[in-house]
Symmetry: C2
């Protein structure tokens, strides 16, 4: 019932995925190892990337990662409804609402009632918001290039295509999305 335990002391961040797959397959023989490795690897890659970008680029500029994302969306769309920002950034409306609170307090975003709909709020950047996002995005892209540079251009193109294929096909089995 209880699995035999090997000594975990030799494990580290890098060897953990292999260990996890081997051991899980022993416990649960029906497991699809390839799918398991795919999800573990994808999750880990995204986490590392975000942690690195946030700590080297955004926090030093006083932005959080979600704050950067919201600012980025508003920068690219101009005046937008908060609802749209939530949809485009993949966040919940409540999260955007809270986030805009701090961005407004920090003088990066302005909020005003929409002219033809008393419920909606239109968001826009302040001058300082614009300066912040262009500076942050430039540094962000430099760092992105370091990450992408681990792969050849063809490899990058392939990776993008595979990720896009996986996400667009996820609608076929009704993957849950934020509404």
């Amino acid at each position: 019932m209880t699995q035999e335990q090997t000594d975990p002391r030799h494990l580290d961040f890098w060897s953990f995925v292999d260990h996890a797959i081997t051991r899980t397959a022993r416990e649960l023989p029906d497991v699809d190892r390839r799918a398991m490795r795919l999800v573990l690897t994808l999750h880990r890659a995204a986490n590392m990337l975000v942690y690195d970008l946030e700590s080297t680029v955004h926090r030093p500029r006083g932005l959080s990662w979600p704050g950067f994302r919201v600012l980025f969306v508003i920068w690219l769309t101009g005046q937008v409804e908060a609802k749209k920002v939530a949809e485009l950034s993949g966040m919940s409306r409540a999260a955007v609402s809270a986030l805009v609170g701090t961005l407004e307090r920090d003088g990066l975003v302005v909020k005003e009632r929409a002219p033809h709909d008393g419920r909606a709020v239109h968001l826009g950047l302040t001058e300082r918001g614009r300066e912040t996002i262009t500076d942050a995005f430039s540094a962000h892209n430099v760092r992105e290039q370091e990450w992408a540079g681990a792969l050849s251009e063809d490899e990058q193109t392939t990776l993008i295509a595979l990720l896009e294929k996986m996400t667009t096909r996820s609608t076929r089995f009704d993957a849950r999305r934020r509404t």
Copy 2:
């Protein structure tokens, strides 16, 4: 200075990446579009995957995504120090400490002082913890297979290889990692 704004109302979650790249390249001509697309696509894929797994598999079983990850690591390693769990799961020690608090309260994890080091805490699963993680992981893997099934086996293998290459090479430019 201020960019001309197109009407953002026609934009949606799927078209946003293309729009973002086109518009950013217009504003900041030096941007590397491929690197930009890579990071946007990777981040989005990982988010969709986690959101789907968490809402269809884990929340219905009373687990959060981070809670699942911690339980998973303890399941695979047996008795471990909290520090090791943090290292293997890629979380901070403080996060693990807080998370273990709720997992212990929910009767899934037990905490005991390490025999030969009065500072360390050893973590283990309760019987209920073991039942919970095996049930959750089985459902988790079924769902993973749906995601992976969007790609052929060769494509899955390629995707895994590219992600691994990118993450292992990230050490070459000193990507920040949690310590």
